[in-house]
Amino acid sequence: MAVITLKDVKKSFGAMSIIANVNLTIQDREFVIFVGPSGSGKSTLLRLVAGLEDTTSGQILIDGEDVTNLGPAERQLSMVFQSYALYPTKTVRQNMSFGLEVARLPKAEITRRVDRVAAILKLEDYMDRKPVALSGGQRQRVAIGRAIVREPVAFLFDEPLSNLDAALRVEMRIEIAKLHQRLGATMIYVTHDQVEAMTLADKIVVLDKGDIQQIGTPIELYEHPANLFVAQFIGSPKMNVLVARADGATITFKSGGRLALSAATPTNVAKLGVRPEDISLVREEQGHLVGTVEVVERLGSDTFAYVAVDQLDAVTVRIVGNVAGITAGQKVGLSLDLNRLHLFADDGKTISTTI
């Protein structure tokens, strides 16, 4: 199938640099997700791979072949767009067969392929309808079907689920995961939704301001973020970041609270990160920090407590299950799991320690 390699890829519009300098290899059959906030360049990067944008410099290779100067169709990739981009004047069948007709495939072959894909995606009943007469989920399936019939070497998805409502989004997410298993194709998927990224990806590429911040498996990014940006972008609710100073094996918070670590840390620590589930609520006198519960959110499976700590931002605490006895206004102690702290330097980079 397809190994996609990006070598020193840069893209700028006039003087404005959109993609700084990207080096990336996407393995055959891998499900790779580009994730980042708006304006991070993730969609541009996907369009560069698709051939819909020209690179300013650098090379794009598919299976070792340089495709940098080839048009979108010659790269043999398929793309699913955010707005579905179905052809409104054509029926579902015509939408799916258009690309094959352009490629001048025999009629019988086109019908065979379209029918097969329609069966996979359960679209048989809608083949003669126009897109206007379809629901959002059906349109999305047609868009995916149109991509599959071309039997591309890889699939590109540009925020395909962001136009769907929450329930449908979860459903389609699972559909796409199944599709990946079934087709075993290389897929590149762009999203700003880190939950989609975490659940679907074999490998996540986190982008910010046109630069790759980190590449890794979902769990790698979660457990070992390379910098503050990744740490805060991956994970929901966000990682708590507290302003702190290190002095030997002691970390002092701006609020005055102290942590005694088992080993000395570098002195350039500026911030300390801790995930909501790595904090537990304890009695006031037992905690590393002391605060007041401001809001309690009970989701049934989890309980989130937002605790205001003097001179620090509100700290989010996640407790598994529905825990009784926590109320707003209550004074509590916060106990941090010392084995799961993340330390960041002034420039936001993670300080590797053996705490």
């Binding site: 979108p72 169709a73 767009f81 955010q82 981009a85 179905l86 409104p88 004047t89 352009v102 206007v132």
Partner: protein
Amino acid sequence: MAIAGKSQLSGKFRRNRMLLTAVLAVYFIYTFIPIFYVITAATKTNQDLFNTFGLWFSDDFHLWQNLSELFTIQDGIFLRWLGNTFYYATVSALGAAIFATLAGYAFAKYDFTGKKFLFALVLGAVMIPQTALVIPIFLLLSEVGLLNTAWAVILPSLVFPPGVFLMRAYVDEAISNEIIDAGRMDGAGEFHIFSRLAFRMLMPGFTTVLILAFVANWNNYFLPLVVLNSPEYFPVTVGLANWYATAVGGTGGVLLYTVVMTGALVSILPVIVAFLIMQRFWQGGLGAGGVKA
């Protein structure tokens, strides 16, 4: 439909509505009186035309005789003029609408050097009345030897700047970049995308430009007057004006005002029919952007 805060019963709403109706009524009368005059005049004898009240029919209903005379006088040349007008207007309007759609699509969807300047030229051209261009066009056509041919009327009419302006705005609204990108991913070339995917989506805009260009060309008088001199190439507008001049001059005494009036009536009918037929495309156009593809 009532708008919150402005109920249909409120005094202000009713006053506004009455005012609006009054303004429209005045406008209607203003536009309809000349048409009505033409209708009544076409049903009269030449004598009645001057001796009876202009805005009502006379006792002698003479329309059929007038029509018969209109189509037989001078070996039935009026029919030929009608045919010429139809031919010039149809070919010019189709060509103008196609060029306007192509240009509008290019302005809306492609980035190219000089785009702003070229579009400014188009906008500028909208402001220039065609009358001002007729003399240079005459000189150009004379240079290439196309005077007194159908091309002399059709070629200049293929340029329709208001159509380009309209189509650019319409393409912007009606066709998302993602649809064009989807076509590219499907392997279609740019012209293929335009002709097979985009054009159908642009039908309402295309029809609008087609009607506007058709009407403009149907009514075109000055250009054919200048570039044509054989009566067999005349469109209705120029032919009728010639007849009218003859009638006013009183030379020959064959041509009557009523024939000119009947000719005028017959010449506006196709435009009205074209409007009625095209109306459904037009209305379709206004609502087309409402559904997300």
